[in-house]
């Protein structure tokens, strides 16, 4: 299954919805979406991952890129990960740098 990554900007918040499977063959497309989001100088980045069925380390590296590309005061939220994807994030220590949440509401 291919990956879809959709960016919307809402009140300065960059929201990206990911669906499908994120491996090395499609990580570049996700990275481009991150670059588009970063170019808008968002106040925060919110990634909706409910529909993401698979994520390889290529996806983790894009998340590292996102954290390094955005200003350090731009928090990253990852919402609704499926358990195996969440497990990869936690095994890799990402919970120390991003907010992993089941759901998201605009503040």
């Amino acid at each position: 299954m291919a990956l879809t990554s959709t960016l919307t900007m809402e009140n300065g918040v960059a929201k990206i919805t990911l669906a499908g499977e994120l491996d090395a063959s499609v990580a570049g497309a996700f990275k481009e979406t991150i670059e588009q989001a970063a170019a808008q100088n968002p106040t925060r980045l919110v990634l909706f991952m409910e529909g993401l069925d698979f994520m390889a380390s290529a996806g983790l590296r894009v998340l590292v890129f996102a954290k390094q590309k955005m200003r350090s005061d731009v928090p990253i939220y990852i919402i609704g990960c499926q358990p195996p994807v969440l497990s990869s994030l936690e095994m890799s220590g990402f919970q120390k740098s991003v907010y992993l949440q089941d759901s998201y509401t605009d503040e």
Binding site: M1, E21, D23, A24, S25, F54, A56, S57, A58, L60, R61, L63, V64, K67, Q68, S72, P83, P84, S87, S88, M91, S92, G93, F94, K96, S97, V98
Partner: protein
């Protein structure tokens, strides 16, 4: 299963593993972890064993079931490379903020931690990576001690 060494085949690799895992009766978590392990090592083989070295070729996947385990064998004719020699992130690396990480080795870290046994050997011009997952609950009893 023989596939050309291209990242375009990663989905086919995962489907092959999913079928093998289902036939072996693995649970969802073990199946996903095995798919991830193969995806990571196959990606390495394609990008570094073949493409970065200017080589082309195939990858060969085999699945063998025993009463106790499912064994997936991955063979390629890229440059010799033992994933176990790759320096993997340790506790200190994994506790660093993402902003301070030059992340390397995460894929192999996830791959090796996702299966019960991982082995590598070089035979002639072939790299042979072997992934073993126990079919019983033995896996949980043996635990996944950190190293």
């Amino acid at each position: 299963m023989v596939l050309p060494a291209s990242v375009d085949v990663l989905g086919d690799v995962r489907r092959f593993i999913k079928n093998a895992a289902e036939q072996a009766g693995l649970d969802g978590k073990s199946t996903y972890n095995l798919q991830l392990a193969l995806d990571e090592i196959v990606t390495n083989v394609i990008l570094y064993g073949y493409e970065a070295s200017g080589l082309t070729g195939n990858i060969v996947l085999k699945s063998d079931r025993t009463e106790e385990s499912l064994v997936i064998t991955l063979e390629d004719t890229g440059i010799a490379y033992d994933p176990r020699t790759r320096e993997m992130p340790d506790e200190v690396d994994l506790s660093k903020d993402l902003e301070d990480r030059p992340i390397g080795g995460l894929g192999i870290f996830l791959a090796i931690n996702g299966v019960d046994e991982f082995n590598y050997e070089r035979a002639g011009n072939r790299n042979i990576n072997t992934f073993t997952v126990y079919r019983s609950r033995r896996r949980q009893q043996t635990g996944g001690g950190s190293s």
